[in-house]
Protein backbone atom coordinates (compact mmCIF):
# COMPACT_ATOMS: atom_id res chain seq x y z
CA UNK A 1 0.00 0.00 0.00
CA UNK A 2 2.20 2.71 -1.25
CA UNK A 3 -0.51 5.32 -0.81
CA UNK A 4 0.89 8.70 -0.02
CA UNK A 5 -1.70 9.67 2.55
CA UNK A 6 -1.74 7.95 5.91
CA UNK A 7 -5.07 6.28 6.51
CA UNK A 8 -6.90 5.72 9.78
CA UNK A 9 -5.82 2.10 9.51
CA UNK A 10 -2.24 3.28 9.61
CA UNK A 11 -2.69 5.22 12.82
CA UNK A 12 -4.58 2.40 14.52
CA UNK A 13 -1.97 -0.15 13.59
CA UNK A 14 0.87 2.20 14.43
CA UNK A 15 -0.64 2.64 17.87
CA UNK A 16 -0.99 -1.12 18.19
CA UNK A 17 2.61 -1.59 17.18
CA UNK A 18 3.67 1.07 19.66
CA UNK A 19 1.87 -0.76 22.45
CA UNK A 20 3.53 -3.98 21.39
CA UNK A 21 6.97 -2.40 21.59
CA UNK A 22 6.09 -0.91 24.97
CA UNK A 23 5.06 -4.35 26.13
CA UNK A 24 8.33 -5.84 24.92
CA UNK A 25 10.24 -3.19 26.83
CA UNK A 26 8.09 -3.49 29.98
CA UNK A 27 10.45 -5.66 32.02
CA UNK A 28 13.39 -3.65 30.74
CA UNK A 29 11.96 -0.60 32.45
CA UNK A 30 12.42 -2.19 35.86
CA UNK A 31 15.86 -3.39 34.82
CA UNK A 32 16.87 0.13 33.83
CA UNK A 33 15.40 1.74 36.95
CA UNK A 34 16.75 -0.76 39.42
CA UNK A 35 20.20 -0.80 37.85
CA UNK A 36 20.64 2.55 39.58
CA UNK A 37 19.98 0.99 43.01
CA UNK A 38 21.96 2.33 45.91
CA UNK A 39 24.96 0.34 47.15
CA UNK A 40 22.81 -1.58 49.63
CA UNK A 41 19.81 -2.00 47.37
CA UNK A 42 18.41 -5.25 46.10
CA UNK A 43 16.83 -6.69 42.99
CA UNK A 44 13.34 -5.51 43.92
CA UNK A 45 11.69 -2.30 44.98
CA UNK A 46 11.99 -0.29 47.20
CA UNK A 47 14.91 1.68 45.85
CA UNK A 48 17.55 2.05 48.49
CA UNK A 49 19.18 5.26 47.30
CA UNK A 50 20.50 5.97 43.83
CA UNK A 51 23.99 5.19 42.58
CA UNK A 52 26.15 4.06 39.70
CA UNK A 53 27.70 1.45 41.98
CA UNK A 54 26.41 -1.54 40.01
CA UNK A 55 27.69 -0.33 36.65
CA UNK A 56 31.08 -0.04 38.21
CA UNK A 57 30.67 -3.43 39.89
CA UNK A 58 30.01 -5.00 36.52
CA UNK A 59 33.72 -4.71 35.77
CA UNK A 60 34.89 -5.96 39.14
CA UNK A 61 35.28 -9.52 40.35
CA UNK A 62 31.97 -10.88 41.55
CA UNK A 63 31.56 -12.96 44.70
CA UNK A 64 30.43 -15.84 42.53
CA UNK A 65 30.86 -16.26 38.82
CA UNK A 66 32.69 -14.39 36.13
CA UNK A 67 30.97 -12.13 33.60
CA UNK A 68 33.94 -11.60 31.30
CA UNK A 69 34.77 -15.22 30.56
CA UNK A 70 31.19 -16.38 30.22
CA UNK A 71 30.26 -13.39 28.07
CA UNK A 72 33.10 -14.00 25.64
CA UNK A 73 32.15 -17.68 25.41
CA UNK A 74 28.52 -16.81 24.73
CA UNK A 75 29.45 -14.20 22.15
CA UNK A 76 31.80 -16.56 20.35
CA UNK A 77 29.28 -19.39 20.48
CA UNK A 78 26.53 -17.08 19.23
CA UNK A 79 28.64 -16.01 16.26
CA UNK A 80 29.58 -19.60 15.43
CA UNK A 81 25.95 -20.65 15.60
CA UNK A 82 24.89 -17.63 13.55
CA UNK A 83 27.30 -18.33 10.70
CA UNK A 84 26.57 -22.06 10.64
CA UNK A 85 22.83 -21.52 10.75
CA UNK A 86 22.84 -19.08 7.85
CA UNK A 87 24.97 -21.29 5.60
CA UNK A 88 23.34 -24.60 6.45
CA UNK A 89 19.77 -23.35 6.23
CA UNK A 90 20.41 -21.57 2.95
CA UNK A 91 21.87 -24.74 1.46
CA UNK A 92 19.03 -26.83 2.83
CA UNK A 93 16.51 -24.31 1.52
CA UNK A 94 17.99 -24.61 -1.94
CA UNK A 95 17.99 -28.39 -1.73
CA UNK A 96 14.38 -28.57 -0.63
CA UNK A 97 13.46 -26.21 -3.42
CA UNK A 98 14.89 -28.57 -5.99
CA UNK A 99 13.51 -31.61 -4.26
CA UNK A 100 15.48 -34.78 -3.58
CA UNK A 101 14.97 -38.31 -2.43
CA UNK A 102 14.36 -38.25 1.33
CA UNK A 103 13.28 -34.64 1.40
CA UNK A 104 10.16 -35.43 3.38
CA UNK A 105 11.87 -37.41 6.16
CA UNK A 106 14.51 -34.72 6.46
CA UNK A 107 11.81 -32.09 6.66
CA UNK A 108 10.03 -33.90 9.45
CA UNK A 109 13.33 -34.47 11.20
CA UNK A 110 13.89 -30.73 11.10
CA UNK A 111 10.48 -30.06 12.58
CA UNK A 112 11.11 -32.66 15.27
CA UNK A 113 14.29 -30.85 16.14
CA UNK A 114 12.16 -27.87 17.06
CA UNK A 115 9.69 -29.79 19.12
CA UNK A 116 11.90 -32.04 21.21
CA UNK A 117 11.97 -30.34 24.60
CA UNK A 118 15.25 -28.56 24.99
CA UNK A 119 16.06 -30.13 28.32
CA UNK A 120 16.05 -33.55 26.64
CA UNK A 121 18.34 -32.54 23.83
CA UNK A 122 20.63 -31.26 26.50
CA UNK A 123 20.57 -34.46 28.49
CA UNK A 124 20.76 -36.67 25.40
CA UNK A 125 23.80 -34.93 23.97
CA UNK A 126 25.49 -34.87 27.36
CA UNK A 127 24.99 -38.61 27.70
CA UNK A 128 26.01 -39.33 24.11
CA UNK A 129 29.28 -37.47 24.62
CA UNK A 130 29.92 -39.37 27.80
CA UNK A 131 29.30 -42.72 26.11
CA UNK A 132 31.56 -41.75 23.22
CA UNK A 133 34.26 -40.76 25.68
CA UNK A 134 34.33 -37.18 24.50
CA UNK A 135 34.59 -34.27 26.85
CA UNK A 136 31.62 -31.93 26.48
CA UNK A 137 32.57 -28.36 25.70
CA UNK A 138 30.70 -25.22 24.85
CA UNK A 139 32.28 -25.20 21.40
CA UNK A 140 31.43 -28.79 20.58
CA UNK A 141 28.45 -30.31 22.40
CA UNK A 142 26.76 -27.04 23.29
CA UNK A 143 27.38 -25.80 19.74
CA UNK A 144 25.58 -28.86 18.38
CA UNK A 145 22.79 -28.49 20.90
CA UNK A 146 22.22 -24.89 19.85
CA UNK A 147 22.18 -25.85 16.20
CA UNK A 148 19.32 -28.29 16.79
CA UNK A 149 17.43 -25.23 17.91
CA UNK A 150 18.47 -22.55 15.44
CA UNK A 151 18.58 -24.70 12.29
CA UNK A 152 14.87 -25.52 12.20
CA UNK A 153 14.17 -21.81 12.54
CA UNK A 154 16.53 -21.03 9.72
CA UNK A 155 15.21 -23.78 7.50
CA UNK A 156 11.59 -22.84 8.10
CA UNK A 157 12.26 -19.19 7.37
CA UNK A 158 14.01 -20.29 4.18
CA UNK A 159 10.90 -22.30 3.35
CA UNK A 160 8.72 -19.28 3.80
CA UNK A 161 11.07 -17.31 1.59
CA UNK A 162 11.39 -19.80 -1.24
CA UNK A 163 7.71 -20.64 -1.02
CA UNK A 164 6.89 -17.24 -2.46
CA UNK A 165 9.99 -16.90 -4.57
CA UNK A 166 9.15 -16.74 -8.22
CA UNK A 167 11.59 -18.77 -10.31
CA UNK A 168 10.98 -16.34 -13.15
CA UNK A 169 13.94 -14.23 -12.07
CA UNK A 170 16.40 -17.07 -12.29
CA UNK A 171 14.97 -18.29 -15.53
CA UNK A 172 15.37 -14.87 -16.99
CA UNK A 173 18.97 -14.88 -15.86
CA UNK A 174 19.56 -18.30 -17.33
CA UNK A 175 17.92 -17.32 -20.57
CA UNK A 176 20.44 -14.53 -20.72
CA UNK A 177 23.19 -17.13 -20.42
CA UNK A 178 23.97 -17.09 -16.73
CA UNK A 179 25.25 -20.31 -15.15
CA UNK A 180 23.46 -21.77 -12.13
CA UNK A 181 26.07 -20.25 -9.89
CA UNK A 182 25.77 -16.83 -11.49
CA UNK A 183 22.01 -16.94 -11.32
CA UNK A 184 22.29 -17.83 -7.65
CA UNK A 185 24.97 -15.32 -6.71
CA UNK A 186 23.68 -12.35 -8.69
CA UNK A 187 19.94 -12.90 -8.69
CA UNK A 188 18.75 -15.18 -5.89
CA UNK A 189 21.17 -14.14 -3.19
CA UNK A 190 20.55 -10.39 -3.36
CA UNK A 191 16.80 -10.94 -3.25
CA UNK A 192 16.88 -13.20 -0.22
CA UNK A 193 19.71 -11.35 1.55
CA UNK A 194 17.42 -9.54 4.01
CA UNK A 195 15.90 -12.85 5.06
CA UNK A 196 19.37 -14.31 5.54
CA UNK A 197 20.21 -11.40 7.79
CA UNK A 198 17.04 -12.23 9.68
CA UNK A 199 18.05 -15.87 10.00
CA UNK A 200 21.45 -14.82 11.28
CA UNK A 201 19.97 -12.43 13.78
CA UNK A 202 17.56 -15.06 14.98
CA UNK A 203 20.36 -17.59 15.22
CA UNK A 204 22.56 -15.32 17.25
CA UNK A 205 19.83 -14.18 19.61
CA UNK A 206 18.53 -17.69 20.20
CA UNK A 207 21.98 -19.06 20.88
CA UNK A 208 23.16 -16.14 22.99
CA UNK A 209 20.22 -16.55 25.34
CA UNK A 210 19.84 -20.33 25.22
CA UNK A 211 19.68 -21.86 28.64
CA UNK A 212 18.16 -25.33 28.78
CA UNK A 213 20.10 -26.74 25.85
CA UNK A 214 23.38 -25.56 27.28
CA UNK A 215 22.68 -26.84 30.77
CA UNK A 216 24.08 -30.32 30.25
CA UNK A 217 26.29 -29.67 27.27
CA UNK A 218 28.50 -26.77 28.27
CA UNK A 219 31.20 -28.92 29.87
CA UNK A 220 33.51 -27.35 32.40
CA UNK A 221 32.77 -23.76 31.54
CA UNK A 222 29.55 -21.80 31.67
CA UNK A 223 28.02 -19.66 29.00
CA UNK A 224 26.53 -16.35 30.14
CA UNK A 225 22.96 -17.55 30.85
CA UNK A 226 24.31 -20.50 32.86
CA UNK A 227 26.67 -18.24 34.73
CA UNK A 228 23.87 -15.87 35.64
CA UNK A 229 21.68 -18.72 36.79
CA UNK A 230 24.58 -20.10 38.81
CA UNK A 231 25.01 -16.70 40.39
CA UNK A 232 21.42 -16.76 41.63
CA UNK A 233 22.40 -19.58 43.97
CA UNK A 234 24.08 -17.00 46.15
CA UNK A 235 23.41 -13.38 47.06
CA UNK A 236 22.69 -11.58 43.82
CA UNK A 237 22.95 -7.85 43.41
CA UNK A 238 21.56 -5.28 40.98
CA UNK A 239 24.73 -5.89 38.98
CA UNK A 240 22.53 -8.26 36.97
CA UNK A 241 20.30 -5.34 36.06
CA UNK A 242 23.33 -3.24 35.24
CA UNK A 243 24.34 -5.99 32.84
CA UNK A 244 20.87 -5.87 31.28
CA UNK A 245 20.96 -2.10 30.98
CA UNK A 246 24.42 -2.10 29.42
CA UNK A 247 23.44 -4.88 27.01
CA UNK A 248 20.45 -2.87 25.84
CA UNK A 249 22.39 0.37 25.44
CA UNK A 250 25.23 -1.34 23.59
CA UNK A 251 22.72 -3.03 21.26
CA UNK A 252 21.17 0.32 20.46
CA UNK A 253 24.58 1.84 19.88
CA UNK A 254 25.54 -0.98 17.50
CA UNK A 255 22.27 -0.62 15.59
CA UNK A 256 22.72 3.17 15.42
CA UNK A 257 26.28 2.91 14.18
CA UNK A 258 25.32 0.30 11.58
CA UNK A 259 22.47 2.44 10.27
CA UNK A 260 24.62 5.55 10.18
CA UNK A 261 27.33 3.69 8.27
CA UNK A 262 24.82 2.41 5.74
CA UNK A 263 23.38 5.89 5.32
CA UNK A 264 26.81 7.44 4.81
CA UNK A 265 27.82 4.81 2.26
CA UNK A 266 24.56 5.29 0.40
CA UNK A 267 25.06 9.04 0.29
CA UNK A 268 28.60 8.73 -0.98
CA UNK A 269 27.52 6.32 -3.65
CA UNK A 270 24.85 8.72 -4.75
CA UNK A 271 27.38 11.52 -4.84
CA UNK A 272 29.69 9.44 -6.99
CA UNK A 273 26.83 8.72 -9.28
CA UNK A 274 26.88 4.98 -8.63
CA UNK A 275 23.35 3.72 -8.60
Amino acid sequence: MQADRRTLEFYLLAAFFGLFVLFLYGPLSTILLLSFQGPNGGLTFPMNGVSLRWFQNLFETQAVGDFGGSFSRSLMLGLMVMATTVVVSLLAGLAFRRGFLGATPLFYLTISSLVVPSILISLGIGLAFQIAGLEPNWWSSAFGAHLTWTLPFGVLIMFAVFNRFSPAYEEAARDLGATSWQAFAHVVLPIIAPSLVGVGLFGFTLSYDEFARTLMTAGSFNTLPLEIYGMTTNVTTPVLYALGAVTTLVSFAVIGIALATIAIIARQRRKLGVS
Binding site: L24, T104, S113, I121, F159, S180
Partner: protein
Protein backbone atom coordinates in the same frame (compact mmCIF):
# COMPACT_ATOMS: atom_id res chain seq x y z
CA UNK B 1 -7.10 -23.13 13.80
CA UNK B 2 -9.73 -20.67 12.74
CA UNK B 3 -7.87 -18.66 10.18
CA UNK B 4 -5.80 -21.33 8.61
CA UNK B 5 -8.46 -24.03 8.59
CA UNK B 6 -11.32 -22.20 6.97
CA UNK B 7 -9.41 -20.55 4.23
CA UNK B 8 -10.06 -23.17 1.57
CA UNK B 9 -7.57 -23.80 -1.23
CA UNK B 10 -5.41 -20.78 -1.72
CA UNK B 11 -7.29 -18.25 -3.74
CA UNK B 12 -4.28 -17.13 -5.63
CA UNK B 13 -1.15 -19.00 -6.47
CA UNK B 14 2.19 -18.01 -7.85
CA UNK B 15 3.37 -18.72 -11.32
CA UNK B 16 3.50 -22.50 -11.67
CA UNK B 17 6.85 -23.82 -10.58
CA UNK B 18 8.72 -25.70 -13.25
CA UNK B 19 9.17 -29.33 -12.35
CA UNK B 20 12.85 -29.64 -13.17
CA UNK B 21 15.49 -27.12 -13.89
CA UNK B 22 18.04 -27.70 -16.47
CA UNK B 23 21.60 -26.99 -15.72
CA UNK B 24 22.37 -27.72 -12.08
CA UNK B 25 23.86 -31.17 -11.53
CA UNK B 26 21.43 -33.76 -10.18
CA UNK B 27 23.46 -34.52 -7.05
CA UNK B 28 23.57 -30.87 -5.99
CA UNK B 29 20.52 -31.03 -3.68
CA UNK B 30 22.05 -33.96 -1.82
CA UNK B 31 25.24 -32.05 -1.18
CA UNK B 32 23.22 -29.02 -0.14
CA UNK B 33 21.04 -30.98 2.25
CA UNK B 34 23.92 -32.99 3.70
CA UNK B 35 25.11 -30.54 6.37
CA UNK B 36 21.62 -30.27 7.79
CA UNK B 37 21.19 -34.02 7.76
CA UNK B 38 24.54 -34.67 9.39
CA UNK B 39 24.06 -32.13 12.16
CA UNK B 40 20.56 -33.31 12.97
CA UNK B 41 21.67 -36.92 12.81
CA UNK B 42 24.46 -36.40 15.29
CA UNK B 43 22.84 -33.96 17.67
CA UNK B 44 19.20 -34.94 17.43
CA UNK B 45 18.71 -38.54 16.29
CA UNK B 46 21.42 -40.08 18.44
CA UNK B 47 20.33 -38.36 21.65
CA UNK B 48 16.69 -39.17 20.95
CA UNK B 49 17.54 -42.78 20.30
CA UNK B 50 19.33 -42.86 23.63
CA UNK B 51 16.31 -41.37 25.34
CA UNK B 52 13.90 -43.83 23.79
CA UNK B 53 16.11 -46.71 24.88
CA UNK B 54 16.43 -45.34 28.39
CA UNK B 55 12.66 -44.94 28.64
CA UNK B 56 12.45 -48.73 28.89
CA UNK B 57 15.11 -48.99 31.57
CA UNK B 58 14.50 -49.49 35.23
CA UNK B 59 15.69 -47.28 38.03
CA UNK B 60 15.66 -46.81 41.77
CA UNK B 61 16.72 -43.92 43.95
CA UNK B 62 20.36 -44.04 42.86
CA UNK B 63 20.87 -45.99 39.67
CA UNK B 64 19.35 -46.71 36.33
CA UNK B 65 19.53 -50.26 35.03
CA UNK B 66 19.46 -51.49 31.47
CA UNK B 67 16.32 -53.58 31.24
CA UNK B 68 13.12 -53.74 29.32
CA UNK B 69 10.28 -52.57 31.48
CA UNK B 70 7.15 -50.76 30.43
CA UNK B 71 6.59 -49.62 33.99
CA UNK B 72 7.74 -46.10 33.16
CA UNK B 73 5.07 -45.79 30.54
CA UNK B 74 2.48 -47.45 32.73
CA UNK B 75 3.27 -44.98 35.49
CA UNK B 76 3.30 -42.04 33.14
CA UNK B 77 0.17 -42.84 31.21
CA UNK B 78 -1.70 -44.32 34.14
CA UNK B 79 -1.37 -41.31 36.37
CA UNK B 80 -3.87 -38.51 36.55
CA UNK B 81 -0.97 -36.13 37.07
CA UNK B 82 0.27 -36.68 33.55
CA UNK B 83 -3.15 -36.03 32.12
CA UNK B 84 -3.93 -32.99 34.21
CA UNK B 85 -0.48 -31.60 33.53
CA UNK B 86 -1.04 -32.26 29.87
CA UNK B 87 -4.35 -30.48 30.01
CA UNK B 88 -2.76 -27.55 31.78
CA UNK B 89 -0.02 -27.44 29.17
CA UNK B 90 -2.55 -27.55 26.34
CA UNK B 91 -4.48 -24.75 27.98
CA UNK B 92 -1.35 -22.60 27.95
CA UNK B 93 -0.76 -23.59 24.35
CA UNK B 94 -4.25 -22.59 23.26
CA UNK B 95 -4.28 -19.24 25.04
CA UNK B 96 -0.76 -18.24 24.09
CA UNK B 97 -1.26 -19.35 20.51
CA UNK B 98 -4.45 -17.34 20.11
CA UNK B 99 -2.93 -14.19 21.59
CA UNK B 100 0.36 -14.39 19.73
CA UNK B 101 -1.45 -15.08 16.48
CA UNK B 102 -3.60 -12.00 16.86
CA UNK B 103 -0.77 -9.77 18.02
CA UNK B 104 1.73 -11.28 15.61
CA UNK B 105 -0.49 -10.93 12.57
CA UNK B 106 -1.29 -7.28 13.10
CA UNK B 107 2.26 -6.35 13.97
CA UNK B 108 3.49 -8.15 10.87
CA UNK B 109 0.73 -6.55 8.84
CA UNK B 110 1.74 -3.12 10.01
CA UNK B 111 5.40 -3.75 9.28
CA UNK B 112 4.73 -5.26 5.87
CA UNK B 113 2.09 -2.90 4.50
CA UNK B 114 2.44 0.36 6.36
CA UNK B 115 6.15 0.73 6.86
CA UNK B 116 7.40 2.00 3.57
CA UNK B 117 11.08 1.26 3.31
CA UNK B 118 12.78 -2.03 3.99
CA UNK B 119 15.38 -0.09 5.95
CA UNK B 120 12.69 1.13 8.32
CA UNK B 121 11.27 -2.39 8.56
CA UNK B 122 14.67 -3.73 9.53
CA UNK B 123 15.12 -0.98 12.06
CA UNK B 124 11.78 -1.69 13.72
CA UNK B 125 12.57 -5.40 13.77
CA UNK B 126 15.86 -4.69 15.47
CA UNK B 127 14.12 -2.52 18.03
CA UNK B 128 11.86 -5.48 18.78
CA UNK B 129 14.80 -7.87 19.20
CA UNK B 130 16.87 -5.73 21.54
CA UNK B 131 14.99 -6.71 24.75
CA UNK B 132 15.80 -10.33 24.01
CA UNK B 133 19.52 -9.76 24.16
CA UNK B 134 19.29 -9.32 27.91
CA UNK B 135 19.44 -12.76 29.40
CA UNK B 136 16.07 -14.34 30.00
CA UNK B 137 17.06 -15.20 33.56
CA UNK B 138 17.52 -11.51 34.29
CA UNK B 139 14.27 -10.61 32.56
CA UNK B 140 12.41 -13.25 34.56
CA UNK B 141 13.77 -11.80 37.78
CA UNK B 142 12.75 -8.33 36.65
CA UNK B 143 9.11 -9.35 36.31
CA UNK B 144 8.94 -9.54 40.12
CA UNK B 145 9.55 -5.82 40.69
CA UNK B 146 7.39 -5.06 37.65
CA UNK B 147 4.28 -7.09 38.47
CA UNK B 148 4.70 -7.75 42.18
CA UNK B 149 2.66 -6.46 45.05
CA UNK B 150 4.89 -3.40 45.40
CA UNK B 151 5.89 -3.44 41.76
CA UNK B 152 5.88 -0.69 39.17
CA UNK B 153 2.56 -1.65 37.61
CA UNK B 154 0.68 -2.09 40.87
CA UNK B 155 2.07 1.14 42.32
CA UNK B 156 1.01 2.98 39.18
CA UNK B 157 -2.48 1.45 39.23
CA UNK B 158 -2.99 2.18 42.91
CA UNK B 159 -1.66 5.71 42.64
CA UNK B 160 -3.85 6.46 39.66
CA UNK B 161 -6.80 5.28 41.69
CA UNK B 162 -7.70 2.56 39.20
CA UNK B 163 -7.57 -0.19 41.79
CA UNK B 164 -7.91 0.21 45.57
CA UNK B 165 -5.32 -2.44 46.49
CA UNK B 166 -2.46 -4.09 44.59
CA UNK B 167 -3.62 -6.80 42.21
CA UNK B 168 -2.26 -10.13 43.46
CA UNK B 169 -2.95 -12.12 40.33
CA UNK B 170 -0.42 -10.20 38.28
CA UNK B 171 2.49 -12.28 39.54
CA UNK B 172 2.93 -15.96 40.41
CA UNK B 173 -0.23 -16.96 38.61
CA UNK B 174 -1.32 -18.48 35.36
CA UNK B 175 -1.94 -14.98 34.12
CA UNK B 176 1.72 -14.21 34.71
CA UNK B 177 2.77 -17.35 32.85
CA UNK B 178 0.67 -16.44 29.83
CA UNK B 179 1.86 -12.85 29.91
CA UNK B 180 5.52 -13.87 30.01
CA UNK B 181 5.02 -16.43 27.27
CA UNK B 182 3.31 -13.92 25.01
CA UNK B 183 6.18 -11.60 25.74
CA UNK B 184 8.76 -14.23 24.87
CA UNK B 185 7.09 -15.84 21.88
CA UNK B 186 5.20 -13.10 19.98
CA UNK B 187 8.17 -12.34 17.80
CA UNK B 188 8.29 -15.97 16.70
CA UNK B 189 4.87 -15.37 15.19
CA UNK B 190 5.64 -11.93 13.77
CA UNK B 191 8.71 -12.95 11.82
CA UNK B 192 7.34 -15.75 9.60
CA UNK B 193 4.06 -13.95 8.98
CA UNK B 194 5.96 -10.82 8.06
CA UNK B 195 8.13 -12.85 5.71
CA UNK B 196 5.12 -14.10 3.78
CA UNK B 197 3.20 -10.82 3.84
CA UNK B 198 6.10 -8.85 2.47
CA UNK B 199 6.32 -11.17 -0.48
CA UNK B 200 2.70 -10.75 -1.52
CA UNK B 201 2.55 -9.19 -4.94
CA UNK B 202 0.98 -5.77 -4.41
CA UNK B 203 -0.71 -5.89 -7.79
CA UNK B 204 -2.96 -8.66 -6.46
CA UNK B 205 -4.28 -6.32 -3.82
CA UNK B 206 -4.71 -3.53 -6.34
CA UNK B 207 -6.55 -5.91 -8.62
CA UNK B 208 -8.87 -6.99 -5.82
CA UNK B 209 -9.55 -3.36 -4.98
CA UNK B 210 -10.21 -2.50 -8.60
CA UNK B 211 -12.63 -5.39 -8.71
CA UNK B 212 -14.55 -3.68 -5.91
CA UNK B 213 -13.44 -5.66 -2.88
CA UNK B 214 -13.58 -3.82 0.41
CA UNK B 215 -10.80 -3.83 3.00
CA UNK B 216 -12.15 -6.79 4.89
CA UNK B 217 -12.68 -8.85 1.77
CA UNK B 218 -9.15 -8.15 0.65
CA UNK B 219 -7.86 -9.19 4.04
CA UNK B 220 -9.93 -12.33 4.25
CA UNK B 221 -9.80 -13.53 0.66
CA UNK B 222 -6.41 -12.36 -0.51
CA UNK B 223 -3.99 -11.57 2.27
CA UNK B 224 -4.77 -14.25 4.85
CA UNK B 225 -4.77 -17.13 2.36
CA UNK B 226 -1.43 -15.94 1.06
CA UNK B 227 -0.10 -15.60 4.61
CA UNK B 228 -1.05 -19.16 5.49
CA UNK B 229 2.46 -20.62 5.28
CA UNK B 230 3.75 -17.91 7.59
CA UNK B 231 0.89 -18.42 10.00
CA UNK B 232 1.53 -22.14 10.00
CA UNK B 233 5.24 -21.74 10.66
CA UNK B 234 4.63 -19.20 13.37
CA UNK B 235 2.10 -21.52 14.96
CA UNK B 236 4.58 -24.38 14.90
CA UNK B 237 7.13 -22.16 16.63
CA UNK B 238 4.77 -20.95 19.32
CA UNK B 239 3.04 -24.24 19.98
CA UNK B 240 6.26 -26.19 20.32
CA UNK B 241 7.88 -23.51 22.43
CA UNK B 242 4.99 -23.48 24.85
CA UNK B 243 4.74 -27.27 24.93
CA UNK B 244 8.39 -27.69 25.85
CA UNK B 245 8.66 -24.74 28.18
CA UNK B 246 9.60 -25.28 31.78
CA UNK B 247 11.51 -22.19 32.84
CA UNK B 248 8.74 -19.66 32.23
CA UNK B 249 6.14 -21.83 33.88
CA UNK B 250 8.28 -22.36 36.96
CA UNK B 251 9.40 -18.76 37.37
CA UNK B 252 6.17 -16.99 36.60
CA UNK B 253 3.81 -19.29 38.46
CA UNK B 254 6.20 -19.31 41.39
CA UNK B 255 6.52 -23.06 40.97
CA UNK B 256 2.80 -23.49 41.48
CA UNK B 257 1.79 -24.52 38.01
CA UNK B 258 2.89 -27.54 36.08
CA UNK B 259 3.73 -28.26 32.49
CA UNK B 260 5.01 -31.37 30.77
CA UNK B 261 8.41 -29.79 30.39
CA UNK B 262 8.58 -28.91 34.05
CA UNK B 263 7.62 -32.43 35.04
CA UNK B 264 10.40 -33.83 32.89
CA UNK B 265 12.87 -31.32 34.27
CA UNK B 266 11.91 -32.32 37.81
CA UNK B 267 12.50 -35.97 37.09
CA UNK B 268 15.79 -35.31 35.37
CA UNK B 269 16.97 -33.24 38.28
CA UNK B 270 16.46 -36.24 40.55
CA UNK B 271 18.22 -38.56 38.12
CA UNK B 272 15.05 -40.42 37.28
CA UNK B 273 16.02 -40.56 33.65
CA UNK B 274 13.80 -43.49 32.64
CA UNK B 275 10.69 -41.76 33.97
CA UNK B 276 11.73 -38.50 32.35
CA UNK B 277 12.44 -40.29 29.11
CA UNK B 278 9.05 -41.99 29.12
CA UNK B 279 7.38 -38.65 29.72
CA UNK B 280 9.46 -37.13 26.99
CA UNK B 281 8.48 -39.80 24.50
CA UNK B 282 4.83 -39.20 25.38
CA UNK B 283 5.30 -35.46 24.93
CA UNK B 284 7.15 -36.01 21.68
CA UNK B 285 4.33 -38.12 20.28
CA UNK B 286 1.83 -35.45 21.23
CA UNK B 287 3.85 -32.69 19.65
CA UNK B 288 4.37 -34.64 16.46
CA UNK B 289 0.66 -35.30 16.18
CA UNK B 290 -0.10 -31.61 16.57
CA UNK B 291 2.51 -30.69 13.99
CA UNK B 292 1.17 -33.28 11.59
CA UNK B 293 -2.28 -31.74 12.03
CA UNK B 294 -0.99 -28.28 11.23
CA UNK B 295 0.93 -29.52 8.24
CA UNK B 296 -2.16 -31.30 6.96
CA UNK B 297 -4.14 -28.10 7.10
CA UNK B 298 -1.39 -25.99 5.61
CA UNK B 299 1.18 -27.79 3.55
CA UNK B 300 4.04 -25.41 4.00
CA UNK B 301 6.15 -27.41 1.58
CA UNK B 302 3.68 -26.94 -1.21
CA UNK B 303 4.67 -24.83 -4.19
CA UNK B 304 8.36 -25.43 -3.74
Amino acid sequence: MSVAAEAAPAAVSDAPAPKRRRRAPPFAPYLQAMPLGLILGAFLLLPIAAIVIVSFWDYDSVQIYPAFVTLNYAETLGSWVTWSTLLNTLKFVAIVWAITLFVGFWVAYFLAFHVRTSKMQTLLFLVCTVPFLTSNIIRMISWVPFLGRNGLLNSALVEAGIVPAPLEFLLFSEFAVVLAMVHLYSLFMVTPIFNTLVRIDRSLIEAARDAGANGFQILWNVIIPLAKPGIAIGSIFVITLVLGDFITVRFMSGGQSASMGLMIANQISLLQYPAAAANAVALLVLVLIMMAAILRIVDIRKEL
